[in-house]
Symmetry: C2
Subunit: 546 residues, 2 copies
């Protein structure tokens, strides 16, 4: 037990950890060999969550201080050991990848500076830096000329966007702006910001506001519809084609229907890189529809937006430049640590709709970033994005992104070449879905009718779930899973493996190992396979057992 | 210019910065002597913002990569140099203080692990850890028994709170929960989350929802009222007494008025440590009123909540245990880096009102933290709070908090002892406001009538603004300023200095220096003082010039 007295407390604020202390050694290890540190300290084999919880069940804040070394040992054995090795090249199930080394010491610098970006008084140069970062991303999307950025990037009354903790807040901010602009002050009506949503609907004579997005839209949009008072039911899912892209005819019909019902389309949302399949909506066509219905066009490019950094592939996002607002997460394909979301606004005046002030900070006319953001106090994460863009450079990012897409194409080819795996959704960016299907089932599925697919799919789903779970638990590699409704299988809800190939350290050999491991796990699932076999026999899809 | 090729890119993900590189040296300096590093690299004298902006005006993402060393030099000279020395013991104007040393290497560890707390699959042990941290803060506020925490802390369907990027999101989350609970599903009505706010008001027959808070409430509450569709006008400010505490009679009357107008009180918000004056509302009496009107009682203890760690002072927050929800920021008086807000819920089932799921994560029945949070992907900041609570301990925190309050009392006494300064609001916690008033004015103000106060105050306001701005620019010390309506001065809007004395390294000698510096600046403000003098003469408050 450490001492509790003035002197001891003063020390923790003034005396650094010694280099040979436990924490000093960890820090050295992290600096010298991050991957080695993670590989050594994170236990591969999964410990049941209930057991981990036992180390985190004391609700009392400890009375007495603990020595830093002792506490660090606890963290190593109980927390780090049972963390997820998100930087591992075989952890390809989610959008978290490896980080460039230089960001680690820079992150420490950022934390040490402990700036608060809500206001100039606690951030100074960090405010222009963050505005610069937002400006650079704005330029990436909208490519305005230098005069535009000279005029607006550092203007107190304007913002080219807002830095957020993540894509969820970014999407929410975009819809907040759209909502407040639609129900703006008008005559006696002081605007929704002042009078509230119900008064706004009444004033403008709308029965409801509706947001339209493809059925592949991110769940944060439903959350935003809830938070903003619009209602989850009024986030209407529009059907997608066989490539998971919104059907523009269906979108237009949905807009018509809203009008016929006395509602108002608040926003149309294009998805640039769906979370589950990585596909990109036909943004240019959606922009046309948004114009026809005089509605806000938002593009959720949280994951796929970084593709704009690749001259080779940025055409995939054609039309994004017509969006009124765009969400991009730098902590996804820009290789920045967690906590770097952004929303960009085409028109620098849009943020007027959400402007707010207070007496002691974010005063009228100040350049305080807090006057146009949903969040209040925030750290200087923008520095991570700024540094990554400078040290990697656009050309560096282009290489990273092109490589990821090529790797996904390689993996799709590899899967197709197996007689017991099948690609479910093709990669457009570096994301694809697939599943294991025993050889005989794969052959039989090729010509199966709807009833057969309906009866076989639940068994295949159980098998996919089983393999995904066992593979995760074994700790050697990780793919995620989701449920899709593939057109080729009569839209039957199908569980699939989902991989995101953004980690530059993932090799082709590793991808081969991953499917081999899945095959081996599947082979051991005898009862699930037995049930599948029985079902096939009952369906008349297997005549003999030979 | 650095190279752009596969090999070079691979290196930034695999080869650490050498210890003798620019960044390596910075890291060493940070580790060995943070205060020295900050003191050495942050330029004291303020550079005009427009000049700083010139270093951050290139909206093009650079095509070519920059060497890390070169980029680091840029950061040092252009960003760090013109950052704010928030850890300085003479930076007493805002709620940001010095950080304990051990948190720096731990922050690097956190960033290196790069967990995403939205789901178990990308956070594993960090999920139980975060639930533990929320549980510890819940216990600090509500002091339930061990059985309570055993039952609820790790329950998939429940949450004792939510970890947020800051107090703003925490307050917003609390009101979101309150709103969705009030307009819950009922018969044919599927609830506000599904159907939206207007449908909810119509179903329940309320003309409007109203949130009541004292006129000292934080600006984030107005923002929350906007975002949630309630409307800023429906966040009603209730008058405060001479100590900036809400008048309970006025609160009760306000509740009556809402009902008479056909509205519904959505929530009553108590402030535990107002941002501008540090005072605490009479929480127990407010809880009674909330019960009488069957409304949600939220306490915004973003800043003052840490006072609960002091057995000597926690009585100041009596009644907080009756709150349905409480906001606490660990990045304020808990000495954790920026980005650690929390909202706590007395009843672990309250979060049902905002629960949401998706196919690929936060599935039904999972323990994924993302199902009960406003934000999506989030970093493992909870680890910073966990470690600080263990290494400092409750007794350590008590010492820190008691010392801060004593320091504030010392400073108030010091100001009172000057014949040219006056305390405007007394410290209840470690926050107080005061101003410089030339000796003759101070004497004259003692017996001044309302007209005299009304005419003198604008001149005093100008002087206070001038001194605050010059002192900030000189860079030796920083106090903030705000505008209050002090009862002792006929509620005339008065600009005041505002100080928060939470930095353990701030000494009494420094406080003496700070007011001496203010006095010297004020003495040079000859034209402002001349105008004040003329006004006094015209008011007949000075008979002769001797």
């Amino acid at each position: 037990m450490a001492e509790v007295n003035q002197e001891a407390l003063y020390r923790i604020f003034t005396i650094p950890e010694a280099p040979d202390s436990t924490l000093g050694k960890i820090e050295k290890h992290l600096s010298e060999n991050l991957m080695g540190f993670l590989g050594e300290h994170i236990v591969a084999r999964e410990k049941p969550l209930q057991e981990i919880e036992r180390d985190f069940e004391q609700a009392n804040i400890p009375e007495d201080p603990q020595f830093v070394s002792e506490h660090t040992e606890f963290l190593l054995n109980k927390l780090v050991a049972h963390s997820v090795h998100t930087a591992s090249p075989k952890f390809i199930g989610h959008m978290t990848s490896a980080l460039p080394y230089f960001l680690l010491p820079l992150a420490k610098l950022m934390v040490g500076l402990n700036q608060n970006l809500v206001k100039i008084e606690t951030s100074k140069a960090f405010t222009p830096l963050e505005r610069n970062v937002i400006g650079m991303l704005h330029h990436l999307v909208y490519q305005q000329d230098a005069g535009f950025y000279n005029r607006w990037m550092h203007s107190a009354q304007h913002s080219l966007g807002a830095f957020c903790s993540g894509g969820t807040v970014a999407n929410m901010t975009a819809l907040w702006v759209a909502r407040n602009r639609l129900l703006k002050p008008d005559g006696d009506f002081a605007g929704i910001a002042a009078e509230g949503l119900a008064a706004g609907l009444a004033h403008y004579g709308y029965k409801k506001l509706v947001v339209l997005v493809s059925e592949r839209g991110h769940y944060s949009l439903a959350k935003a519809a809830d938070v903003l008072g619009i209602g989850r039911r009024n986030l209407v899912s529009v059907a997608t084609d066989e490539n998971n892209r919104i059907k523009v005819d269906a979108l237009r019909q949905a807009c018509e229907k809203v009008q016929q019902e006395g509602g108002r389309v608040l926003a149309i949302i294009g998805v640039a890189g769906t979370t589950e399949t990585g596909h990109i909506d036909p943004l240019a066509e959606m922009a046309d529809i948004a114009r026809d219905y005089d509605t806000h066009f938002h593009v959720d490019a949280a994951w796929g937006g970084a593709t704009l950094l690749s001259n080779q592939h940025r055409g995939l996002l054609n039309g994004i430049e017509h969006a009124d607002s765009v969400t991009i997460d730098a902590h996804k394909q820009m290789y920045v640590p967690m906590g770097a979301g952004m929303v960009l606004f085409k028109n620098p005046s849009l943020v007027k709709a959400i402007e707010h002030h207070a007496e002691y900070i974010i005063r009228q006319g100040s350049k305080d970033l807090g006057s146009h953001s949903m969040e209040g106090s925030r750290a200087g994460m923008a520095m991570m994005v700024f540094s990554a863009m400078h040290v990697i450079g656009r050309r560096g990012y282009e290489l990273l992104i092109n490589n990821s897409i090529e790797k996904a194409r390689y993996f799709a080819d590899l899967i197709r070449a197996q007689d017991d795996f099948e690609v479910i959704t093709e990669p457009e960016l570096c994301l694809l879905t697939y599943r294991f299907v025993p050889k005989k089932v794969k052959q039989a599925l090729a010509g199966a009718n709807q009833e057969q697919v309906e009866r076989l799919t639940p068994h295949l789903n159980a098998l996919t779930r089983y393999v995904q779970k066992r593979q995760r638990e074994s700790g050697r590699s990780f793919v995620s899973r989701t449920k899709l409704t593939p057109a080729q299988y009569y839209h039957e809800p199908s569980v699939v493996f989902r991989v995101v190939l953004a980690n530059p350290l993932t090799t082709e050999a590793m991808l081969q190992e991953i499917i081999q491991e899945q095959r081996e796990i599947a082979e051991k699932a005898t009862s699930l396979r037995g049930a599948l076999h029985t079902e096939m026999r009952e369906l008349g899809m297997i005549v003999s057992d030979h």
